[in-house]
């Protein structure tokens, strides 16, 4: 390459452009050749991959004989070791299908040339949310359709579906094997689904969006039936009509027996490790396992469990019967062979009791998780998996045996794809990655728990994470902050599951919330000096520790740190350093919260000690330390009345309690947690004030009491604590109670500092007020880019009605309020009698757009504000004209709710 460059340059020198062009032409020729070569090598790859792909596609019912012929001796190991689960495939290739910044046109352009079932995930600017853009077959009219992805605070789900996932990858993986609310299952590009190794996937991923236009994105040599999902049910022609009625899919119920049939195909198992115990208990009374397996392979009747389930519909037995024997005859095929092998190997040991003893089980589930992790880091031979298979078939059967949560099984029945799952050939890692794929529907507990399923199944160090988890809680065990308290209360866990949870310490780490996982990952990244981010953080930390003279005051020091955290947060959110992107793992409204936590952990945690010493040094140097010390003694000797306290004060015991809280606060590095403790102290003081008198006291009475309490606690360090919190707390948190009580505490301390005997100590000195004002201004106006926060509290809405013309009102709203809620508010405010006739519209660029119910007007507003050219826009609440449906998506976005 360099010699060529030189050549170019030499030619250049001669100034002969024609020769230059010549060189370039030859260059391009060479490049082309290179490309052809890769193409060839790729084809080679494909050829060798073919067996696997065929095995995978066996459900399609094509060329099975060829399969058996070509691979008569395949014992299943080879293929097992070479297989990558869908989740792995998705994780490795997200630069290809996850295109958040892609426009609608861009998506259309890419998908146009793709077969049906191929998809992209992008962010729709119109809807202000992520969408799954799916290529449709021609029968559907439109070439593609966008399915909005709903992000709740903790989960991702497709609009209209009741199934939620911890992250995007899990969501997509699920829809690759089950269609749920989609017309058919998703399909991965041929090159991805046939890639055998991670290296191959990585290579494809390198192409990024160019994959779609590159020769790598080739079609299979013998393309399988083009529209597999709909025409897939070769075994039961009748179901075709069922699937497609007027181009709209009808929901097909799926009995548990159908589920099993899919399992014997190795297609998909619904397993939630949480129900391990539950299942096994149920099962322990039922038939021994060999019995449960064999019939399921053999025929339509399944004598396994007494029937709490409905009998399979007729069509079903039609479908299963021809298929199952087929599976059996293909004993040489990896999947089945594998099954048999595993059973042969593992069953004898477990025969008397189908459930392994608890210890073994624990180990097994741990191994399972680990196995899941390893499948990604290096294809591992089946040997390590031995303990698992012995468990898994059982688990899978248990899952559908109507064991623990019947609702779960039922839910998946009604929701998911017709059973045989012929349409999901690429799913092959399902068996190894059950723990990762736990998906449940209706039951609230499992739904919640889906969230805490292993998120980074691909992280290797399952062991270390446990320690880390403990280390997470800020140096000392502390009751979780209010927020997480709320969350934990929403966990509706059956007791049995809870105890199960405790027992499974081996896999405990995998139950970390995605949030914790993310924080941990960022913290790990921050220690890795090979990354730009790691370098930044490490350099900054050591810079601060080494350059003490750099900062002129304590405020200056803390401000610099806060600024650094904010900017690095920006960097992480906007660069591609986090891989996979944070948007795919954390719902959008949580990203900032998660990043803030991560910043605390990777910046404040190592700096805490240093910052404290520095702060103290500054205070000692400017004399305020001594001043506070002297005055504290003075104030302590005063009785409450002299401090302006006219409310009951905490007694000795309460003061001790408060002191303990303050001491705990000192040990925290996170300003957020510190503030949480401060709030608790304040609450306690209020309680004491109210309790002893029965009177309600207001803010005016509070400050003197707080002053008194702080003096009684006699902790000089509180001064630096308050400063630490005031300057380092996330600016967005300063608006709430946190900001209020921080100001109070600051006021109380400055009262003490400035306490003089003759002074009626109830008023803040003007200096203090001034400082506070400046602080507030600084902390709240420092942000340059408009964000939701800036407009979070108010929304101006105009009301248009024939009778009253146009009126406007400013509504007080939450930042993430949905259009639906705004409409409700408007209906009240504008006294609309028939609110169902009205809707919220956005008028911008001379066009009207009706906002969908679950869009966020405040986010739209923020987005409009942050555009370089200011746009004039209005939110208007007005009558929806003659539209038969409730909601239309603006500008030709298809009406999804009516589909």
């Amino acid at each position: 390459m360099s010699s060529r460059t030189m050549g170019t340059r030499v030619l250049d020198k001669r100034g002969s452009f024609f020769k230059l062009i010549d060189t370039i032409a030859s260059e391009i020729g060479e490049l082309k050749q290179e490309m052809v070569q890769t193409d060839v090598s790729l084809e080679n790859g494909l050829e060798s991959a073919e067996p696997y792909s065929m095995v995978r596609h066996k459900g399609d019912g094509y060329s099975e004989e060829k399969d058996t012929k070509a691979y008569p001796r395949d014992s299943g190991y080879d293929s097992l070791s070479n297989r990558l689960s869908i989740l792995d495939q998705l994780l490795h290739t997200h630069p290809i299908w996850l295109q958040l910044s892609l426009s609608e046109e861009g998506a259309a352009q890419i998908l146009q040339s793709q077969p049906p079932g191929i998809f992209l995930v992008r962010k729709s600017t119109k809807m202000q949310k992520k969408v799954l853009s799916l290529r449709l077959p021609c029968e559907f009219g439109a070439p593609l359709k966008d399915f909005p992805i709903r992000e709740s605070t903790y989960t991702f789900s497709l609009e209209g579906s009741g199934i939620s996932f911890a992250d995007l990858f899990r969501l997509i993986a699920f829809y690759c094997i089950s269609r749920d609310v989609l017309p058919f299952t998703l399909k991965l590009p041929y090159a991805i689904s046939t890639a055998k190794t991670e290296a191959q996937l990585e290579e494809l991923a390198q192409l990024g969006i160019n994959f779609w236009s590159s020769p790598a994105d080739s079609q299979p040599p013998n393309p399988p039936p083009p529209h597999r999902p709909l025409s897939s049910d070769g075994a039961c022609p009748g179901s075709h009509q069922l699937c497609l009625i007027n181009g709209v899919h009808s929901i097909k119920t799926r009995t548990p027996s159908e589920l099993e049939c899919s399992q014997s195909n190795g297609a998909l198992c619904f397993i939630n490790p949480l129900f391990l115990k539950v299942h096994s208990q149920d099962l322990s009374g039922s038939l021994p396992r060999p019995n449960t397996r064999i019939p399921s392979v053999n025929g339509t009747e399944r004598p396994r469990s007494p029937p709490p389930r409905p009998p399979p519909p007729f069509i079903n037995s039609l479908r299963t019967s021809p298929q199952l024997p087929r599976t059996q005859t293909q004993a040489s095929m990896p999947e089945t062979a594998n099954h048999n092998k595993q059973e042969a190997g593992a069953v004898p040991g477990a025969k008397p009791t189908p459930i392994p003893p608890p210890r073994l089980k624990k180990q097994a589930s741990f191994l399972e998780a680990e196995g899941g992790a390893k499948t990604l880091t290096g294809s591992r031979p089946g040997s390590g998996c031995w303990p698992i298979p012995s468990l898994e078939p059982e688990l899978s059967t248990a899952g559908s045996a109507g064991g623990a949560p019947p609702s779960e099984a039922q839910g998946s029945c009604t929701k998911s794809q017709p059973p045989c799952s012929e349409s999901q050939p690429p799913w092959n890692g399902g068996r190894q990655r059950l723990s990762d794929m736990s998906i449940s529907t209706s039951s609230s507990d499992s739904l919640e728990f889906d969230r805490s399923m292993p998120l980074f199944g691909y992280e290797v160090d399952t062991n270390s994470s446990l320690e880390d988890y403990e280390g997470e809680s800020d140096q000392e065990t502390m009751p979780p902050p209010i927020k997480s308290k709320k969350r934990s209360s929403s966990f509706v866990l059956p007791k049995i599951v809870k105890s199960q949870l405790r027992k499974m310490s081996g896999v405990f780490s995998s139950f970390m919330t995605p949030e914790k996982r993310m924080v941990r990952r960022i913290a790990e990244l921050s220690r890795d000096k090979c990354t730009y981010f790691g370098c930044l953080v490490q350099d900054y930390v050591s810079f601060l520790q080494e350059n003490k003279e750099c900062h002129v005051s304590s405020t200056d020091l803390l401000q610099t740190i806060r600024q650094f955290m904010t900017q690095v947060k920006n960097y992480l959110a906007q660069s591609s350093e986090l891989d996979p992107p944070i948007e795919s793992l954390i719902p959008e409204d949580q990203i900032d919260v998660v990043l803030e936590k991560a910043m605390h952990k990777c910046i404040l945690k190592p700096l805490k000690g240093h910052v404290e010493t520095m702060l103290k040094d500054f205070h000692v140097a400017d004399g305020s330390w001594k001043q506070l010390k002297d005055n504290l003694q003075l104030v302590r000797q005063r009785n409450p009345q002299e401090l302006g306290v006219f409310a009951p004060t905490p007694d000795f015991v309460d003061v001790e309690k408060i002191k303990v809280k303050f001491m705990t606060m000192q040990k925290m590095y996170s300003p957020e947690k510190k503030v949480m403790l401060l709030l608790r102290v304040c609450k306690l003081i209020y309680t004491v004030m109210g309790n002893n008198s029965g009177r309600m006291y207001g803010a005016d009475d509070f400050l003197p009491v707080l002053t008194y309490v702080i003096a009684q606690c006699d902790m000089l360090e509180l001064d630096t604590e308050i400063e630490y919190m005031m300057e380092l707390l996330d600016p967005s948190l300063l608006h709430g109670e946190g900001g209020y009580y921080l100001t109070s505490a600051y006021g109380a301390l400055s009262l003490i500092k400035n306490f003089q005997e003759e002074q009626a100590a109830r008023l803040l000195s003007s200096e203090t007020r001034d400082t506070l004002r400046q602080w507030h201004k600084r902390r709240t106006t420092n942000r340059t880019i408009p964000s939701v926060d800036d407009f979070q509290n108010y929304l101006r809405v105009a009301f248009q009605d024939v009778s009253s013309g146009c009126t406007g009102k400013t509504l007080l709203v939450r930042p993430y309020i949905t259009t639906e809620d705004v409409c409700q508010l408007c209906a009240e405010k504008f006294k609309v009698r028939d609110p169902e006739e009205f809707s919220l519209f956005l008028f911008v660029d001379e066009t009207w757009q009706q906002l969908a119910e679950d869009t966020y007007p405040q986010k739209i507003k923020a987005e409009l504000h942050s555009r370089p050219q200011p746009h004039i826009f209005h939110f208007v609440y007005k009558r929806v004209k003659n539209h038969p449906y409730g909601v239309i998506f603006h500008n030709g976005e298809e009406d999804l709710t009516t589909a």
Partner: protein, 210 residues
């Protein structure tokens, strides 16, 4: 459908020369008369099309104050390009610029693209640094040079465009040479485009390297 390429850019220069204003103008197309000095550094992004790809600028705007000087290596270390800004009305700031260039040559990444921006060109009547000086110096060190005004939005886009192309050039000399050739042909008929000016500039720098 275009691939996105990330370009880390960092702004260096004396305090008060207008680094943040340049970034603010580029990213938000906005100018604030009462901007306060940057603390540490601030981060912003902007995506612009360049050729057949999108360039996403990840911009670190560093603090010019001397006390933050030792923080700068953190930001320029991983950067693809550095914009070194001086104030055309302050000779001192041009000296500081030279110091920055020297530091970058010694400690910066090997192939860092350097761009020199003489800001506040709207105040050319009180100019202290002649454009000629800057041009000569830039040529000497192989940097892009342009006089800008964040206030009047002069040459801000062009500055970053130049970085884009120069970055492109560093990666794919042949391709850029091709486009240059074509542009040269075009410029015979329509020689006014700013882009072609930049491309020509690069072409010359390529020639000079050989």
């Amino acid at each position: 459908m275009m691939a996105i390429r990330e370009l880390k850019v960092c702004l260096l220069g004396d305090t008060g020369v207008g680094k943040s204003s340049i970034v603010c103008r580029f990213v938000q197309d906005h100018f604030d008369h009462n901007i306060s000095p940057t603390i540490g550094a601030s981060f912003m992004t902007k995506t612009v099309p360049c050729g057949n790809e999108l360039h996403k600028f990840l911009i670190w705007d560093t603090a010019g104050q001397e006390r933050f000087h030792s923080l700068a290596p953190m930001y320029y270390r991983g950067s693809a390009a550095a914009v070194i800004v001086y104030d055309i009305t302050k000779q001192d700031s041009f000296h500081t610029l030279k110091k920055w260039v020297k530091e970058l040559k010694e400690h910066g990444p090997e192939n860092i693209v350097m761009a020199i921006a003489g800001n506040k060109c709207d105040l050319s009547d009180i100019r202290e640094v002649p454009l000629k000086d800057a041009k000569e110096y830039a040529e000497f060190i192989g940097a892009i040079v342009v006089e800008t005004s964040a206030k009047n939005a002069i040459n801000i886009e062009e500055l970053f465009q130049g970085i884009s192309y120069k970055g492109l050039l560093a990666r794919r000399p042949q391709l850029v040479a091709l486009s240059l050739t074509m542009l040269c042909c075009c410029s015979l008929t329509n020689p006014s485009e700013v882009e072609s000016r930049f491309l020509l500039h690069h072409l010359f720098s390529v020639c000079k390297i050989c």
